[in-house]
């Protein structure tokens, strides 16, 4: 008689282990009654279990006693089971700590190297710029004053030209018409020395963006005007759109003194419900200092050209060349001063971009039902457009693929045909 094995071998094992559902256990039991192979398997499995029981161990020693103590209080934030924390390798903790220490050491060493005073030999205008940077325009006043010569007035910086020990003419760098880096207010006259002695002087361009939703939309514009007036600012741009009953919105750009940005933002927030707000700041200190140095260098060059013109002894062509150079330098100075002024203004006045949308509630009363005829016409037009779009899309796809298909058909046609014929010949009797 043929026995159908409708139970798996693992099920025989699970039956012996008492791991089967009662109904399935009955099936397996019945199968075992009529299947000699599976009975043999069951016997082998029982043998294995019996054999394993040969290995016995000693009784627990009397020294194994219950640990003393009470349940430890639950650790705050420890959501994982206690036994998960046990296998944590202290070595990995040590590796993490060592990595953090090395990282901290690198950061400290780098910051120390960046702030180290450096002796500078200046050979030209570019060297002067580099020297100013090297001497740490952004570093401490102590380093800057140490780099300056003893004869330098307190408000200026001077650098010895050339590295020779012989007396050399000093170049005075007077950075007039730059900015007072200690404050946001524009300054008529400032010098690099003062700036160098202000290690903490920073120029930060701050901007903020805020989106509001308001029920009282008509009050938004007067509200914005009140805010800028209260904080000594101005509305740089304002765009209003929308027409009742549709949703209306206002986009405005406000300029307020940086010191009053936070207060102005608080005023804007009070105008409605804040949907989104973000602030950003850009540190333009280094860029501004570079620009100031370039201006000072250009002015020094202009003075030298003036001096050359005053003491002119050369040919007329030389004089014309000097005048051209003087004109070029003056243009550069004016351009850079304009840039510098714009930069100061950006730092002095922060920008707030305000987006205000009216809280929109759809009004069914104003929108009557669309006539059936219009809806049918619209549906027909939409359907016709979809059909045309579909046809155009298919045509475009064909045109797009056609050249490539033609090319490869032309290339492969003859080899494929030749191969096909050879294959057919070879298979013929």
């Amino acid at each position: 008689m043929t026995i159908t094995h409708d139970v798996e071998r693992e099920e025989v094992m699970a039956y012996l282990d008492g791991e089967l559902e009662p109904a399935r256990a009955r099936d397996v039991r019945a199968h075992l009654d009529r299947c000699a192979d599976c009975r043999a398997l069951a016997d082998r499995l029982r043998d294995v279990s019996l054999s394993l029981q040969e290995w016995t161990v000693d009784s627990p020693p009397p020294t194994l006693v219950a640990p003393s103590g009470a349940p430890a209080p639950r650790r705050r934030g420890a959501w994982w089971p206690a036994w998960l924390a046990l296998p944590l390798a202290p070595r990995w903790i040590a590796v993490g700590l060592a990595s953090a220490a090395v990282l901290a050491l690198i950061v400290v060493v780098q910051s120390q190297l960046r702030g180290r005073p450096t002796a500078v030999a200046i050979g030209g205008r570019d060297d002067m710029t580099a020297a100013l940077r090297t001497l740490g325009y952004a570093s401490s006043a102590k380093q800057s004053s140490a780099a300056a010569s003893a004869s330098t007035p307190p408000s200026g910086a001077s650098f010895a030209r050339g590295a020779s020990p012989s007396p050399s003419p000093n170049v005075q760098l007077n950075l007039e018409a730059t900015t007072d880096l200690r404050s946001d207010r524009p300054a008529d006259s400032v010098n690099v020395g003062a700036a160098l002695q202000q290690p903490d002087a920073q120029m930060i361009v701050r901007t903020a963006t805020i989106s509001l939703s308001s029920d009282k939309f008509d009050d938004i514009r007067p509200g914005l005007e009140r805010v800028v007036e209260a904080h000594h600012g101005s509305i740089a741009a304002l765009t209003a759109s929308g027409d009742p009953p549709n949703q209306r919105s206002i986009t405005a750009t406000l300029r307020v003194p940086s010191a009053e940005l936070d207060a102005a933002l608080a005023g804007v927030r009070a105008l409605g419900r804040v949907l989104q707000e973000s602030q950003s700041s850009e540190d333009v200190t280094d860029a501004h200092r570079d620009l100031a140095i370039r201006i000072s260098n250009a002015k020094v060059e202009e003075q030298r050209l003036d001096q050359i013109l005053k003491d002119r002894t050369g040919k007329l062509s030389d004089v014309l060349s000097v005048e051209q150079a003087q004109s070029r330098v003056r243009t550069e100075i004016e351009q850079m001063e304009a840039q510098e002024l714009a930069m100061r203004n950006r730092a002095a006045l922060s920008t707030i971009t305000v987006d205000v949308s009216e809280r929109y509630v759809a009004d069914l009363a104003d929108s009557g039902p669309t006539p059936v005829g219009v809806r049918l016409r619209n549906a027909f037009v939409d359907g016709a457009r979809a059909a045309i779009d579909s046809a155009v899309g298919v045509t475009l796809a064909v045109l797009n693929a056609a050249p490539t298909l033609l090319l490869w058909t032309a290339v492969l046609f003859f080899p494929v045909r030749l191969t096909w014929r050879r294959l057919r010949r070879s298979t013929l009797p």
Binding site: S51, L52, T56, V57, A66, G69
Partner: protein
């Protein structure tokens, strides 16, 4: 009282409940570690560590599964941690697949232990949890973190492999009929 009753009573401040749990599982824990460590001192230390972990982590116990599988789960992880630590120390007498040393074993059991030692470590662990620690398939799955079907197939494979090994050495031991 059930295990859950005891652990909840212990959380309520009943120290005697923990002692009762300890007495209930003192033997099983000892057997668990004794078969998996080379010396009785190691087994005793690890069993002690396990009960200490239960004591310290009792507040986090949640009766989602049986206390039995919770306890064996702790024991299993204590064992794995101990093996890792021994491996880092370079202790060659304790490898990941170490089972108990031959001391104190009757000669009739040596061939069983040798056959077990030759099995795949994961398969062997599941087989031992079933045969010696009498855990159900679902409990073994919770302890080892393997799916229950995997537990069943591994258990079957381990038993078949062990059967082949034991069938090859009947004369050496004279134990099997």
């Amino acid at each position: 009282m059930t295990d859950d009753d005891l652990i909840l009573a212990f959380l309520g401040g009943d120290r005697a409940a923990f002692d009762a749990l300890f007495e209930r599982y003192r033997g099983p824990m000892w057997n668990f570690f004794r078969r998996r460590t080379p010396t009785s001192a190691d087994a005793e230390e690890l069993a002690q560590d396990t009960f200490l972990a239960v004591l310290q982590g009792a507040r986090r116990y949640e009766p989602r599964a049986s206390f039995r599988s919770y306890l064996f789960g702790i024991a299993f992880n204590v064992l794995l941690a101990w093996r890792r630590k021994a491996g880092r120390r370079g202790d060659e007498s304790v490898q990941a697949d170490t089972i108990a040393g031959p001391s104190h074993d009757p000669s009739s059991a040596i061939w069983v232990r040798d056959a077990l030692a030759a099995l795949d470590p994961d398969d062997r662990e599941i087989l031992m949890l079933r045969e010696y620690d009498a855990l159900e398939y679902a409990e073994i799955a919770r302890v080892t973190g393997a799916p229950i079907n995997t537990v069943r197939s591994r258990l079957f494979r381990a038993r078949m492999a062990l059967r082949e090994r034991l069938a090859g050495e009947p004369l050496k031991t004279g134990v099997r009929s």
